[in-house]
Symmetry: C2
DNA sequence: CGCCGAGTTGAACTGAATCAAGAAACGTGG
DNA sequence: CCACGTTTCTTGATTCAGTTCAACTCGGCG
């Protein structure tokens, strides 16, 4: 099997820190997993397409953005050991309003929509996957909403910096700027002020 | 049964617009529903408490806010025919970082955390409830994130106004201001400019 | 009747946008 | 491996939306 040439170790650690899931269930999970690999700056999902996957990021950095506006807007980053999906598109199986792209070379372990539905039927405990995806994505969005409401740009930048000091160096400033909600110029000035 | 004195009609319409759910399943659903009623300005959930419910708003307007900061911040409104929960607290069963309060007299139909877990076991289709809650809440948050990122205060106000012209009149301006992310003074000026 | 919170209005200030131009880094082809 | 062009980042000057502080109005309620 293709899967066995690569390790799903990180994936398993992520989902089963408390070892609730039997070996048998794991075998089924893993049999449905698809390994996807991308170089840097590769498009994972175009806006207008329907998201077909919930993916675990084994390696790499990914960004979500809205293109075609006068200037595109990056509104999310996903890092190693996190779940990733254009979740609203995935849930409703409707066209995504945003696009997804790699920033660095990326390896994903993905469930398709169909295989996840199958899993829900076959292996009740696989609900943890759907639930954890929802939890992770929802909690992140809540945190972000609050950050956008009651922090200013500099505070937001310092926060990201505190959480991901080194990863940040791999992300172009203009993406970070639009994520923070300011222009690249403004972010450049903030950076100078800090150092 | 207490439930039968009141009508769960709106609730049923909301969940079953395509009549997928059998009468039998509905009976089980309804048997687990708890009716909760509040006057205006009543506290539904204090920050620090664990959210025990996913609720359907039959009647009323509710706000979510973060208290105890120098000035509290309202970050969400929920209206009639929508689902409502301090969902991150509910999912993880951890203390909520925010509080929930009624703005107008309110009637909720609520599932407890426990009864929802039971339902998942007994009635497979009840997953639609969890999924629809997640969908609704997630999609709302996504829309809001984008609004906070690429609209200014005036655009955000006009949007709410377009979506909920009359409901808005029932919500104190200061709540709307903090929801939009500006001061009441600034919102007052925006209003004048518009009319 | 007077108080109090909510909303309005004004003036000074500030953080970030915009416009513009230069410096540094990056990739591609010769 | 260098030279070139393109993109990214920095810096400056100006403008603007929204904050802050302060005073005043209005409506509801004791």
């Amino acid at each position: 099997m293709a899967e066995q040439e690569f390790t799903t170790e990180k994936f398993q650690k992520y989902f089963d820190h408390s070892s609730l899931i039997s070996d048998k269930a794991w075998d089924i999970f893993v049999s449905k997993l698809i390994r996807r690999e991308y170089p840097k700056n590769a498009t994972i999902l175009k806006n207008g397409q329907v998201e077909n996957f919930i993916s675990f990021v084994d390696t790499g950095i990914i960004r979500f953005f809205i293109p075609n506006e006068e200037q595109e807007m990056t509104f999310a980053f996903v890092f190693e050991n996190e779940l990733m999906s254009a979740y609203d598109s995935f849930l409703m199986q409707t066209a995504s309003t945003y696009a997804v792209q790699t920033i660095t070379p990326t390896v994903l372990w993905s469930f398709t929509h169909k295989s996840l539905q199958d899993l829900y039927q076959e292996v009740p405990i696989s609900n943890v996957i759907g639930r954890m995806a929802c939890e992770e994505l929802y909690i992140k969005k809540t945190a972000r909403e609050l950050s956008l409401l009651n922090q200013n740009a500099q505070e937001r930048y310092l926060n990201i910096f505190a959480e991901r000091p080194m990863l940040l160096q791999q992300i172009p400033l203009k993406y970070i700027a639009s994520y923070i909600g300011i222009t690249p110029q403004a972010l450049s000035r903030i950076r100078r002020r800090i150092s």
